[in-house]
Each structure stands twice: as structure tokens, then as C-alpha cells.
């Protein structure tokens, strides 16, 4: 397998620059990560066994430039992704996978540009708001409460890894900054509620879709939200991983990658 590489890609006629991690071999797969930055290394490595993974960070996240150029509405961030796919030379249909905030971005790509998406996987997706199942405010929680909300088990190695800053002072500062920039980048598009009208555009999605959830997801509870997505995307299939929370890509990376790759292979 070729070495992972990092590319910088410009969009909006050069005004915006974002980093893209490229790794693996096989058909192209666009992976859009969640609001905490690209932390799910194991999951990416497992996907890379069956695909060439292109994992960009959205504008605003660490390593990006010019985020202020992209307005906060969903049309602008989706235009950005259209530019990005073109810049990467991915003009034919590609598989698109997104987690959490990344799934919010992915479903909009599939709705705005149906012909760009071959198959779609939405993992713990943000993008709908149900009155009967209000979601916790990801952007209004202290770190301890956030950890308890996004992980099924806060004592798990994955949770500890994500919420333990590096021991070195300077590294810890950079780690903090990266985390903060990620939340800022995501908050810009999700504030104050993560519903920007996908419901009205869902009919445009043509790609066969996998809805992959953790049974213990306390951010987007699978019961009501998987049902709501299935009602909007009648051909979607759903898989719920027992014991995983909102961060299932970190909590159960191998199982999550297996489910995604088998969906993309059409199995």
C-alpha cells in the first residue's frame, strides 16, 4: 500500500485551502470527519485496506486557510466540496462516507450533486432535528460532559485517548488549538441547531445509502433518527453496532470500517 500523503487543496478560486490526507489503494472514497478533527486513525487505516481514502478537513479546521471566505450556509460549504472533488481529479462518481458533522456535509453533497456520489454511508449523522428527540448541545458542554455524551464508555481507551492532552506543554497548546478550531469550524455550519433543511432536499439523493449507528449514541439517538432517515431515504439500509456511542469510528473502528466497506462493495 502506498504511503499516506498529505495534500493541500484550494477551492473558491484559490481563496480557501484545506489539507487532505490520502491513503490506501482501490476505488476513491471521500471521507468527511466529525467536529473534533481527523482523530480516527484506525478507522481510516481499515478503510484504506479497500479504498483510496481522501480525507479532507473542512475550512476552519487545523491546517486550513481562508475559512472566513466561505459563508455559513449549507450551499457554500457544499460548493466548497464540489470544488474540492474537482481539484482532486475526482470527477466521476465516488463513494462518500461521513461521520457526525462529516455526515451532515456528505448528505448535502449527495443532495446537491447526486451524480457525484456512487454510494453513501452516513455514520451517526447530524442534519435532522426531531422535536420528540432533542439532541444535546455539542457546543455548550464542558469537556467532561462532552466525553460522557459522545462515548458509550468514558473509561474506554478511545475516550481516554481523545480527552487526554499531550504531556508536553507546547504540544498540549497545539492540541488544544486544533480541538478548538475544529469545534469552531463545525459550529459555523451547525449553529444553533443541526438542521439546515436536508429534509427538503433528501428526495434528490440517488446513491444507495448505509445508515451506520452506535446503539448507545446519546447525541443522535438511533431509534428516532435512523427511522427518520429511513423515511427520507427509502432505499437506505441501516446497521446499528451494539455497545458503541456517537464516536463509533473510534470506539469500534474495525467493525465500523467492515460495515462501510461491505456496503460500498454492494454486498
Amino acid at each position: 500500500m502506498p504511503e499516506p500523503q498529505q495534500r493541500l487543496v484550494r477551492t473558491f478560486d484559490g481563496a480557501v485551502e484545506v489539507p487532505v490526507r490520502i491513503t490506501g489503494e482501490g476505488p476513491p472514497l471521500l471521507y468527511l470527519h466529525g467536529p473534533f478533527g481527523l482523530v480516527e486513525d484506525e478507522f481510516i487505516a481499515a478503510l484504506a485496506a479497500g479504498a483510496t481514502v481522501y480525507a479532507p478537513s473542512p475550512p476552519g479546521f487545523e491546517g486550513s486557510e481562508g475559512a472566513e471566505f466561505v459563508h455559513e450556509d449549507v450551499t457554500e460549504i457544499t460548493l466548497h466540496h464540489d470544488d474540492l472533488l474537482r481539484a482532486l481529479g475526482l470527477d466521476g462518481p465516488v463513494d462518500v462516507v461521513g461521520h457526525s458533522f462529516g455526515a451532515f456535509l456528505a448528505e448535502e453533497i449527495a443532495a446537491f450533486y447526486p451524480s457525484r456520489v456512487r454510494r453513501l454511508a452516513l455514520i451517526s449523522a447530524l442534519g435532522l432535528w426531531l422535536e420528540e428527540a432533542p439532541q444535546p448541545d455539542l457546543f455548550g458542554l464542558t469537556p467532561g460532559t462532552l466525553a460522557r455524551t459522545i462515548f458509550a464508555d468514558i473509561e474506554s481507551p478511545a475516550a481516554r485517548r481523545m480527552f487526554t492532552p499531550p504531556a508536553d506543554r507546547e504540544e498540549a497548546r497545539l492540541w488544544n488549538r486544533a480541538r478548538r478550531r475544529g469545534l469552531i469550524g463545525a459550529a459555523k455550519y451547525l449553529w444553533p441547531l443541526p438542521d439546515k433543511g436536508f429534509r427538503r432536499r433528501a428526495y434528490r439523493v440517488r446513491a444507495p445509502t448505509l445508515l451506520l449507528w452506535g446503539s448507545e449514541d446519546a447525541v443522535v439517538p438511533p431509534g428516532p433518527y435512523v427511522d427518520a432517515y429511513r423515511a427520507l431515504l427509502p432505499d437506505a439500509t441501516a446497521e446499528v453496532l451494539p455497545g458503541a456511542g456517537h464516536m463509533l469510528v473510534e470506539e469500534q473502528p474495525a467493525e465500523a470500517a467492515r460495515a462501510v466497506l461491505s456496503h460500498l462493495r454492494g454486498a
Binding site: 469537556p143 478548538r180 459555523k188
Partner: protein, 400 residues
């Protein structure tokens, strides 16, 4: 020197165990803690205190805007200002202020201030805060990443709407209007003075200098923190080739006057402790929404106190030590204030003479003693400067 009486209008009937039992005083405070009839009585008391201040020799009275909290009962400062426009004479009425990014279109604020200026005979100061993260992002749902840009656009629109004689079109990113033509217009021309409340961010200092506004430092951290703020503020003013006019800046200051330091402690300690331990009990997740601080501010070293447990348990001795409250006999308070306003070159003190759980009679006592026994001794300070940020038709106290 000028002295303004500043009221926060706290809901002073919070239960004693409020901080232990409840999540936050701001944003999601339980509604069943509030008794609307008692609230009505508080408005009466507090407006009476503001009216009393206007007769005692304060140069103005200040009201402010906060939402969904027990710390202040003024979601709309303009409503209180409307009562004050009718019930006060002569003094400035300082809106400190209207959070202009929250109003759609912001010309609503331009209209209300124009109304108030007409009603008060030209005594209004227009204050434009960005607003706290709790107010703007969590209570009013404003996007934290674009809040400041929206705020600046609103300031441009409002000041233009007061100044331009003909209807004009405004093509902003956040507001588009085909016909801007507010009625009525303010008495003060070209516009009421503008004060910008701030918490110490460098970009605000640059901006007030560029726009020629007054900077009102609204920190409750005490005068020691204010000293640091102004050590950095005045060089920024220099960098714009502007004179160090002391009236360009003001601070808010808790003051408690008694017969002696001990007497003042006896009178005021429980009320200032109540202020900190109850009305500053804000859930940590609501303090600083992602994007509320600009990248420049974060890059400049600003770090959020982003911890799980936020206990603000402060006692009198600590509050004295930090300079949060200046207390003692009138002579002691005068001496300390004189030193302070000369040291940091301040022309404006916004006096917090009512704070926390203070009852009405004690508030009247404190504000009266400050007005009669402290303020007259300090009028001469900075009298060589012209105050360019005082309303055109408010009365200037002798010597101020």
C-alpha cells in the same frame, strides 16, 4: 470627572442554595424560581433608585441588556430607558447597551434610540455591546463565528441611518434594505455619542479608535485588572495619533461607603458575596461558544477557562484584595478613587452602588453618601479635558 449610576437589576430573590442546586444562573435558569409579582416590585424599586440617582448629582444613569438570567432583569434596556426618559430630567441616559447584532433589521435599534433621544430631550448615549456569549449565542442563537462581523455591519447601518438626510439602500451581508429612512430622527446631531462596552479584546480597542467611540470597560474583576487593561489601551490610542482624553474611557466599579472600613464590610459584604456566588454561577459550557473569540484573540494567547466545575466562591477578603470593591469612609473611598483615575487616566466611573442582594434602603444610603461625600471631591480631576462623549443636551455637573 464624570460619575454614572449603573444598575444591573438582579433578581435578588434567588434561593440561598441556588448555586448548589441549579445548573446555571444564565441561559437555562429554571423559570419557576421567578415570581412575576415580586419582579414587578423590583422594577419599581430599581427604577426609583435610578431616578433618585438623577437627582443626587450623578451625571447619568446606565441600563444594560442581558437575556434569560437572574443576574439582570433587563432583556430590553430601552424599555427601562423609556421610563427614565419621562421620570428623569437633565442627566444622561446611557444605554450600555443595545446588542445590535441581535436585531433584525438593526434599524429597529436606530429607531428606538431616536425615539428615546426625542423623548429625553437629547440626553441619550447609545452603547453598542457585542454581547456575552451566553446572551448572543446561547439565548439568541446567533452564529458565534459571524457574530462580530454582523455586529460591525449593524453599527455601520445604524450610524448611517441617523446621519443620511435622504433614503438610501443598504446592501449588507447580514441586512439588505431597499429603503433606509428612519423616523423619528435623534435630537442630537449628527448622532448621539456612542460608547462601546468591552471586556478587553485588542480588536475592540482598534475599532473604537477607528470609529471615534468611547470605550467602557465592563469588567467585574476589579480595578487591579482594569489597571492592566489600560496599560495596554492607552498605547493603542497613541498609535492612532489620538489624544489621551480621559473621557475616552471608563470603568465600572463597585463602591461601598460607610463610616469606616469595618462599617462598610458590615453593610456590604453579604451583598457583594451574593453577587459573585449567585449571579456569576454560569455553566462553563455557556461561557465562550466556539468562534465567539476571534482567531486573532486566541492566537494572541487568550485561553478559555474551559473546565468542568466552575465554582465561583469568593469571600469579602478576596474581593477586597483583587480591588473588586472600593470601600470605607467617604475620605478613604475618595482617596483611592482619586489615585485610580489619575493612575489609569480615566474620566468616567460607572458606579455600582447597588449590587447583589442589596435592599432598597441600603442602596439609597450608599448611592446618597457616594453622591454627597465622594463625588464632589473628585469633580476637579481631568477638568482640563473636554468630554466629547457626553450627550449634547444633558446637564453637565459643575466642574465635570
Amino acid at each position: 470627572m464624570k460619575f454614572y449610576f449603573f444598575h444591573l437589576m438582579p433578581y435578588r430573590h434567588l434561593p440561598d442554595n441556588f448555586s448548589e442546586e441549579h445548573h446555571s444562573v444564565w441561559v437555562d435558569i429554571p423559570s419557576n424560581l421567578l415570581d412575576p409579582r415580586k419582579t414587578g416590585e423590583l422594577y419599581d424599586e430599581y427604577i426609583d433608585e435610578l431616578v433618585l440617582a438623577s437627582t443626587l448629582g450623578y451625571d447619568g444613569v446606565c441600563v444594560n441588556e442581558h437575556h434569560q438570567n437572574g443576574y439582570g432583569l433587563m432583556p430590553s434596556p430601552n424599555i427601562i430607558a423609556a421610563a427614565l426618559a419621562r421620570q428623569t430630567k437633565d442627566v444622561a441616559i446611557v444605554l450600555l447597551g443595545d446588542s445590535i447584532a441581535l436585531y433584525n433589521p438593526p434599524t429597529r435599534v436606530a429607531e428606538e434610540i431616536a425615539m428615546l433621544d426625542c423623548m429625553s430631550g437629547g440626553r441619550i448615549v447609545a452603547g453598542f455591546p457585542v454581547g456575552t456569549s451566553m446572551d448572543t449565542n446561547y439565548c439568541y442563537g446567533q452564529n458565534p463565528v459571524t457574530l462580530r462581523e454582523k455586529y460591525r455591519e449593524a453599527e455601520q447601518l445604524i450610524t448611517r441611518s441617523w446621519a443620511e438626510p435622504e433614503p438610501f439602500a443598504f446592501n449588507g451581508r447580514y441586512t439588505q434594505l431597499r429603503y433606509v429612512n428612519i423616523w423619528p430622527r435623534p435630537i442630537q446631531q449628527p448622532r448621539p455619542p456612542i460608547w462601546i462596552p468591552g471586556g478587553g479584546s485588542v480588536e475592540t480597542w482598534d475599532w473604537v479608535c477607528e470609529r471615534g467611540h468611547m470605550y467602557a470597560a465592563l469588567s467585574f474583576s476589579g480595578f487591579k485588572r482594569s489597571q492592566k487593561t489600560f496599560e495596554e489601551f492607552w498605547p493603542v490610542v497613541d498609535s492612532y495619533d489620538l489624544p489621551r482624553n480621559p473621557y475616552r474611557a471608563g470603568i465600572i466599579q463597585f463602591i461601598g461607603v460607610g463610616d469606616s472600613e469595618e462599617h462598610a464590610e458590615e453593610l456590604y459584604a453579604e451583598h457583594i458575596e451574593w453577587f459573585y456566588n449567585k449571579t456569576q454561577h454560569v455553566y462553563g459550557g455557556f461561557i465562550d461558544a466556539p468562534g465567539y473569540r476571534t482567531e486573532k484573540t486566541i492566537a494572541g494567547g487568550f485561553t478559555t477557562e474551559y473546565t468542568d466545575v466552575r465554582i465561583i466562591e469568593r469571600k469579602w477578603a478576596q474581593l477586597i484584595d483583587e480591588g473588586v470593591i472600593i470601600h470605607g469612609s467617604p475620605e478613604q473611598v475618595t482617596e483611592k478613587l482619586e489615585w485610580l483615575v489619575k493612575e489609569i487616566n480615566l474620566g468616567v466611573i460607572m458606579v455600582m452602588a447597588h449590587f447583589g442582594s442589596m435592599p432598597h434602603d441600603l442602596a439609597e444610603y450608599n448611592m446618597t453618601r457616594i453622591a454627597r461625600e465622594v463625588i464632589p471631591n473628585l469633580r476637579h480631576v481631568h477638568s482640563e479635558w473636554e468630554d466629547e462623549w457626553y450627550p449634547q443636551h444633558a446637564r453637565r455637573a459643575p466642574g465635570a
